[in-house]
């Protein structure tokens, strides 16, 4: 079984760079499986009329990005409704299924493959329907391997090729709560890594002014004593300060989640924040000419 998973991962790894005119033709050529995750060069193919909301999950290896997205997918597929939305369709079912599967074998300790492999396709797609007004929303989620961000720290070339962050409507920075609480004695490394990553992204102009971002503390269940909770609370200020100083603004919110607990209410709250629709044209343009003519004459 483990071998099979590794085979799938090996087949799926590798990003092809294509030009705008070539990419439409190459949709399926670098995709070894139908409905697998897509790469950033294929982002334009998801645009129908409205550019879908793009959510970038950012974090170093093992920080819980894939676990989070896998859990979300599982909740959407196993519940008729989640956070007031129904899952209608996805162009990347296989990409999601693989993440759910990896999360499961990871929990069972039956696999050494604890995360996505470097260079693996990262773009996942959800088509959701709001139970409130029946409107449809396409959401794209970028879930890159954590090693990608480790490489960004040491290589300008890798950072330059990132097309996701500059286009993201919202960026979610994952922080390993267990690590930040000091339980693993690697708190300083976490802060240093994020400082280096954000500084490099800022220099490369990959973080736009006014960027919306959320800081997510994953694995919050591991912070289970009063002492650790107290330490985490103190260190959160320091860690979030790093984000604020470099990005230049406060996060939209700071959330604690335990992605392995599907009943965690924080998970649903975070999901709702991420899929909140973007502003519409109606607010900015007067397109209903009959309405305008009636108002003018009345």
């Amino acid at each position: 079984m483990v071998e099979q998973v590794d085979n799938i991962i090996n087949k799926l790894s590798g990003i092809e760079t294509t030009s705008l005119t070539e990419q439409h033709d190459s949709n399926n050529s670098d995709q070894k499986f139908y409905c697998d995750a897509k790469n950033q060069e294929q982002l334009n193919d998801f645009v129908d009329s409205v550019r879908p909301k793009l959510v970038a999950l950012v974090g170093f290896p093992g920080y819980g990005k894939s676990t989070f997205i896998g859990s979300l997918y599982q909740l959407l597929t196993t519940n008729l409704s989640y956070g007031g939305y129904n899952l209608v369709d996805s162009d990347t079912y296989v990409g999601f299924e693989r993440r759910v599967f990896l999360r499961r074998v990871n929990n069972d300790n039956t696999s050494d493959t604890k995360r996505n492999v470097l260079g693996e396709n990262d773009i996942l797609h959800l088509k959701l329907r709001s139970e409130g007004d029946g409107s449809y929303h396409d959401i794209l989620v970028s879930d890159k391997a954590g090693e990608t961000y480790s490489k960004y720290i040491s290589s300008d070339r890798d950072t330059e090729t990132d097309n996701v962050l500059i286009n993201a409507d919202i960026v979610v920075f994952f922080v390993d709560a267990e690590m930040d609480s000091g339980r693993l004695a690697t708190h300083n490394l976490l802060v240093e890594n994020y400082e280096s990553l954000l500084t490099r992204l800022k220099i490369q102009q990959k973080l736009l002014d006014g960027l919306s971002y959320i800081v997510v503390y994953s694995k919050i269940d591991k912070v289970n004593t009063d002492e650790l909770k107290k330490k985490l609370s103190e260190r959160k200020k320091q860690t979030c300060g790093v984000f604020k100083n470099i990005i230049g603004r406060d996060p939209e919110s700071v959330c604690d989640v335990n992605s392995t607990d599907l009943n965690d209410n924080h998970l649903e709250a975070l999901f709702c924040k991420l899929i909140q629709p973007k502003g519409s044209y109606q607010e900015q343009h007067d397109l209903d000419w009959v309405k305008s003519e009636i108002e003018k004459e009345k």
Binding site: Q40, V47, S49, S135, L287, W289, V290, I294, E297
Partner: protein, 312 residues
């Protein structure tokens, strides 16, 4: 329209942008297509961008033209073609190669097809261009009316020829013309109000049938060519508070068909219409569930009939 504007309009919808050099080529193709495209092509483009679709016929013509000019095959994401078809229509309205009466027709087709998006403007691309397109009916339509129909036509239409010819009126004086024009407007307004008091009008049970009949008369019989009629004012003058009732399009069509079946009133059947075609044909469409007030329905149908009149 500049290549920079086109580039921005395309790139705002893309994650991976196109280069401005590409937009220069795309705009060149658009401009060379302006004198070639027929009314039917333009109609297809307009319908497509309001329905958030790619017009496959236009896409084919664009790709062929691109290959003719640049000798290469052009492959772009569909979203880009949606922007291009919108840009093409605006370019036609701005082009010196297109006659004014053609621009009037195009501007009316735009107004008529906007009904596809009634109360659902989300996801319509290039809204700034669509807003701009709406201004072309007043610019060309009204100008066309004022330019093509002179004193003689106006007076002949309102007053029998032998009546005014024997008077002392100085018909070449602007002041006299303005007075007569004002007089004609009052006459038309009175005609509208009088019609609303006739038994033919009052015996109709549905206000939607009434407003249909009213705007049909306005376009067919009441000299709209000489006077810039405001359908909103006329409908309110004739129907008062009855203009506020709302109904789903399917119900409106059903009312109209029932009441018009025993009369001699014919609903035109033209491809360039949306609501008229729906009344004419027994087909379900996505618009059936949208609600229209009597006034809104009247205004839409007025402009559809106006276009039919231009086409005739």
């Amino acid at each position: 329209m500049t290549s920079k504007e086109l580039c921005e309009a395309i790139n705002v919808n893309l994650y991976i942008p196109i280069h401005e050099d590409v937009s220069v080529q795309l705009l060149n193709v658009i401009n060379t297509l302006c004198p070639i495209l027929e009314t039917n092509d333009v109609h297809n483009c307009i319908q497509a961008f309001f329905r958030k679709e790619v017009c496959s016929l236009y896409k084919g013509k664009f790709q062929t033209q691109y290959k003719n000019i640049y000798g290469e095959n052009l492959i772009l994401p569909n979203i880009v073609f949606k922007v291009l078809e919108t840009c093409q229509v605006l370019a036609l309205l701005q082009s010196d190669d297109v006659e004014d009466d053609q621009k009037t027709k195009i501007s009316l087709i735009i107004r008529n097809n906007a009904v596809w998006r009634k109360e659902d403007w989300n996801g319509v691309l290039c809204p700034m261009w669509i807003e701009k397109m709406y201004t072309y009916y007043p610019k060309y339509g009204i100008k066309d009316i004022a330019g093509n129909y002179n004193f003689d036509s106006l007076l002949q239409a309102i007053v029998p020829h032998n009546t005014w010819n024997d008077t002392d009126l100085d018909i070449n004086a602007q002041k006299t013309y303005n007075q007569l024009r004002s007089l004609c407007k009052s006459v038309v307004r009175e005609q509208v109000e009088d019609f609303a008091n006739t038994t033919d009008f009052k015996c109709l049970l549905s206000p939607f049938t009434q407003v249909y009949l009213l705007v049909s008369k306005m376009v067919a019989e009441w000299h709209w060519k000489y006077i810039d009629l405001s359908p909103v004012k006329m409908i309110i003058a004739a129907m008062g508070d009855n203009v506020n009732g709302c109904k789903m399009l399917s119900g409106i069509v059903s009312d109209l068909k029932k009441e018009l079946s025993g009369t001699s009133i014919v609903v035109p059947k033209e491809k360039s219409s949306v609501l008229l075609l729906r009344i004419h044909e027994d087909m379900n469409m996505e618009l059936d569930v949208r609600k229209f007030s009597v006034l809104e329905f009247g205004v839409y149908v007025y402009y559809e009939l106006l276009l039919e009149n231009y086409n005739d």
